[in-house]
């Protein structure tokens, strides 16, 4: 299972980096989304896949899943949704103001505009 997850995470990171390096702003945002998905799957894998029952503990229960990675992922997902939403709105606004979504046209500073 860990091997499969390693390939899935690796593929997500690969796709994310490919998209982030492209010129179009929208593709970059999709890339950041994939990047955070990869990171979340990695947390799940790092918690290891031991145990099968939900972590409701009482006497004699020894076989249960580690609940902590899921709590972490939940938090991280909420944060990444928030940031992605903000980023999308910002991209829309930037497209209106700057009249472009091409990152190569957004480089430079005030002096060498």
């Amino acid at each position: 299972m860990e091997i499969v997850m390693a390939f899935v995470c690796g593929f997500l990171f690969m796709a994310a980096i490919y998209l982030i390096l492209s010129r179009s702003l929208l593709r970059i945002i999709i890339g950041t989304g994939l990047l955070s998905h990869g990171a979340h799957l990695l947390i799940l894998t790092m918690g290891s896949f031991k145990g099968s029952a939900p972590p409701v503990l009482s006497d004699g229960v020894t076989d249960y899943v580690d609940p902590l990675p899921q709590a972490l992922i939940l938090t991280a997902i909420v944060i990444s949704f928030g940031v992605t939403a903000f980023f999308l709105v910002l991209a829309y606004r930037a497209y209106h103001e700057l009249r472009t979504d091409d990152m190569t046209l957004m480089k430079g500073s005030e002096e060498n505009e």
């Binding site: 990047l35 990869g38 940031v83 903000f86 980023f87 500073s109």
Partner: protein, 496 residues
């Protein structure tokens, strides 16, 4: 168990929420913000005294036993940084009344400021590595708002890059925390420290240490990954820039010093050597940038990079003298950077330009501004008895004690470059022929910006003169950094 230490986080958060209502009433916004900050400052000052008398204060949410619940720890390092953060924000907000502009004030500038200090104080106080990530995100989210607020073209262009860099570094942060969790099986920072000491830091933990350096270094702007900082910080207006320059990079510096003194202390010859080398290159890169530019904003922004290098150089020595110096220098740098940004904000306001070549002769029209800039510049460089002196002295002393003679001399030499870079502002803007002057300078607006700036510069003078009184506090902080067992004992005991 002491809920008091949460107040400097909760009060700004609460005031940020009530500020969201009545967004068009400027008087309400200003008074409420100042009120919230004053109450938080009182609480933070009480917290510092409390920590000084009773040792680190611990809260574990929901009364869980310690390694399982989320812990908030306020030791001397955190308490001092929280107090400094709040005091600086008070002055910067006050300064903003004269310069931020009505439109921004009506569009959630003040709630943004309050949320950012919620995140900053939370990051300083938390004792749980995942919560550090959460508080980082809180302050980053608020900083995204503040950097783009106003929607000018340059702001939109730069904030896209700023957000992209931070999203990627946040993803790396989550990945690093996941790796750390899979190795040590806990998220509580004190518990991590104990478990790493048990297994004596195998190679995988050194890899994680370097990943942490990469993640926090991106926020703190250390050498290879400081590229985003100069352009991103030059986009927003001066009060926001002062807030960012004084606080945000320092959170990264704090996180590096915390993780490198608490967790990764068993392979010093690799991790701290790497930190040392990066710190020195950071100083060199910052010096080159500070000398290369003729834009006042850029010169001071590159001085942030230099200061980050100097503080981390102190952290990399790992002896008590250098860590005490790093604490002194960290707080000095927060104060003096805010003061300098506020001063150049006034210079930009009265001249109407950021280009040094167009300025000149301000000493004839604004003598007071000139002399306070000179004091702040000397404070930045570390001319005794001003505030930068003692920190740098201790850092260099620690460097010599640790046997890093050449790099210590280089840090010492960087002071001359810093002096040169700020003296260039002084010579070009204040001396010589009369240069460009803005036509519509209102005296009242100028005074409203000038008074908080002067008070902050005077505060920095007292920080330098009052070294004697501050030393016990800084010594406490350095003891906690050098000896993790004080921290871990306090946390592990606090939950029972």
């Amino acid at each position: 168990m002491n809920n008091f230490l949460l107040l400097p986080i909760i009060i700004p958060f609460f005031f940020a929420m009530i500020l969201m209502f009545g967004q068009k009433k400027i008087a309400y916004q200003r008074i409420t913000t100042l009120l919230g900050l004053v109450i938080s400052i009182i609480c933070a000052a009480g917290l510092v005294l409390n920590v000084y008398e009773n040792g680190p204060q611990i809260v574990t949410f929901g009364n869980w036993p310690v390694p399982f619940g989320i812990t908030m720890v306020s030791d001397m390092v955190a308490a001092l940084l929280v107090l400094t953060t709040l005091v600086l924000t008070f002055f910067i907000v006050w300064y903003g009344f004269g310069s931020i502009g009505k439109e921004r004030e009506q569009f959630f500038y003040y709630p943004g400021v309050m949320f950012i200090i919620t995140g900053v104080n939370g990051a300083f106080t938390t004792g749980d590595i995942f919560n550090l990530f959460v508080f980082f995100e809180v302050l980053l989210m608020a900083s995204y708002l503040l950097i783009v607020l106003g929607g000018e073209k340059a702001q939109l262009r730069e904030s896209i890059k700023y957000i992209l860099v931070n999203v990627i570094s946040s993803a790396l942060f989550v990945i690093t925390v996941a790796y750390l969790y899979s190795v040590v099986g806990t998220l509580n920072m004190a518990d991590i420290s104990l478990r790493i000491a048990e297994i004596n830091q195998p190679g995988i933990l050194t890899v994680i240490a370097v990943l942490f350096l990469l993640v926090f270094g991106m926020k703190a702007a250390i050498f290879p990954i400081y590229f985003w900082l100069p352009s991103a910080y030059s986009a927003p207006p001066i009060p926001v820039l002062a807030l960012f320059g004084a606080l945000l990079t320092k959170v990264g510096v704090y996180a590096i010093s915390r993780t490198y003194t608490l967790f990764f202390t068993h392979d010093l010859s690799f991790t701290h050597e790497l930190l040392l080398i990066l710190a020195v290159i950071t100083i060199v890169a910052g010096c080159i940038g500070a000398l290369a530019h003729f834009d006042v904003k850029q010169i001071i922004i590159y001085n942030i990079v230099i200061a980050v290098g100097v503080i981390l150089f102190g952290v990399a020595q790992m002896n008590e003298v250098a860590l005490e110096g790093a604490m002194f220098y960290l707080i000095h740098d927060m104060i003096i950077k805010a003061a300098l940004f506020m001063l150049i904000g006034i210079v930009i306001y009265v001249t109407g330009t950021t280009n040094l070549r167009k300025m000149g002769g301000l000493i004839q029209t604004y003598p007071a501004l000139c002399w306070f800039f000179l004091i702040a510049a000397f404070g930045l460089v570390g001319v005794p008895p001003l505030s930068g002196f003692i920190g740098k002295l201790l850092i260099i002393q620690g460097g010599f004690e640790a046997g890093n003679t050449w790099s210590s001399l280089l840090v010492l030499a960087s002071s001359i470059i810093v002096l040169l870079s700020v003296m260039r502002i002084f010579i070009y803007a204040f001396w010589g022929e009369k240069g460009q002057l803005s036509e519509n300078v209102q005296k009242s607006k100028y005074n409203r910006m000038f008074i908080p700036t002067v008070l902050l510069v005077i505060l920095s003078i007292f920080y330098g003169i009052g070294t004697e009184w501050l030393t016990p506090f800084m010594g406490d902080a350095a003891k906690i950094l050098i000896d993790p067992s004080i921290y871990t004992d306090a946390v592990m005991k606090g939950g029972e």
